[in-house]
Symmetry: C2
Subunit: 260 residues, 2 copies
Amino acid sequence: MIVVADNLRITLPVIGRAVERLGPGPIRQMVSACMHAGAQAIDINSGPMFRAPEKKMTFLVRTVQETVDLPIVLDTANPRAIAAGLAASGQKAMINGVSLEPDRLKRILPLARKYDCDIIGYLLGPDGHVPADAPGRMEAAVALFNKMQTAGISPERIIIDPVVAPLAWQDGNRQNMAVLEVIRTLPDLLGFPVRTIAGLSNLTTGAPDLDTRRRYQGAFLPMLVAAGVNMVLLNVLDPVLMRVAGSSQRITNGTVFSWQ
Amino acid sequence: MIVVADNLRITLPVIGRAVERLGPGPIRQMVSACMHAGAQAIDINSGPMFRAPEKKMTFLVRTVQETVDLPIVLDTANPRAIAAGLAASGQKAMINGVSLEPDRLKRILPLARKYDCDIIGYLLGPDGHVPADAPGRMEAAVALFNKMQTAGISPERIIIDPVVAPLAWQDGNRQNMAVLEVIRTLPDLLGFPVRTIAGLSNLTTGAPDLDTRRRYQGAFLPMLVAAGVNMVLLNVLDPVLMRVAGSSQRITNGTVFSWQ
């Protein structure tokens, strides 16, 4: 399992300001801390970037790549920002991502094909909503996987994100049990060992404090790992969570165990 | 999921001495602490009890039942001790347990039938060894389930324990992935919603310290809960572990979520 840092977010004021004035300091500090904490990839959550997306994404990608030698994930719905990020970074960038929403498919899939890069497909319906249940997620997964392949994306490049739901949603527990089921069964259903990714922080949207976030994320993370998820986006700067990630991996992987 | 305290063990010197001199104090103190910590049942791990098993088990059962109003689990391979425990406690006792070992089947199954009580079946081969892989565990489960029913045990009374393996075993991780698979798939395989139980403490046999035990048990417990285990035997006096148990249950159960 690959641990992807979800810490670099333009919504953090210190990062947002750094991007506005193209000042690399805070970004370097953040991704350097993520790498030392054990991140194996960096998600660049740049948001929609309505103004000057090319310039800002290019700056972000270059700053991250000058600081750490880790794969990057371009986390934005803005195709112009994605195009600029891919141009700046080359094959190490992953697109995050597309869904069945027609406009996204149309504008983003050609970029994935052009750069032959990994691309994350979110299990949302064409209307942008989360499917109601596990069968709905499975249907969305099959439809998305097929659409991506039809558009010329190699199945090896596709990573499915079943979209972790906030527990505080009315049917949050049920939704997240469906997330686990999708991760566990999708490779069989597709007849292809498609990779999967999950964003852990979303689970505790609305949680009252750090302790509560840790507690629920720390319980759901082993469930994701046991289900066979290939990548997890998480707060790598939380050492408690990183320990859970490490223990879960050592329990589930096939190599000889050591306590460490 | 039902949390069963595995804390009352005759191998603890204070408990062993109390049983020898039939002094209820330390036993009362222990099970009272377990109840306050959230135990929903008490495992009475009395060991083989070579001398005076009837007297000792009767004393243990009465002492526990006079102290807390919780179901009890008679955890011994000694049929004489089980018979005495069942006679002392009535229907609230559960037998822990039988396996495919012929002598155990022959001597313990009639007791389960006579008292119409719950009985745990361990997935060990007729030789008393853990099966080598998941298919071996499945085979043992089917064979045991059938033998128990043939002996007149109602399927509702059967609880299967796939036997958590110490991680430190050479193939400990693989064994425990098989444990999860058995818990997840056994009801489908048997065509009956058979209950399952897992003993968590066994996972960390040989671990160097409390922190390491917590860390690995705390990562494996959510995996067991997500797999659908019905009962877990664990150290209920570890508040960290009990928090993980609570969070895991709130994530996976079907009711409306609250952060608590």
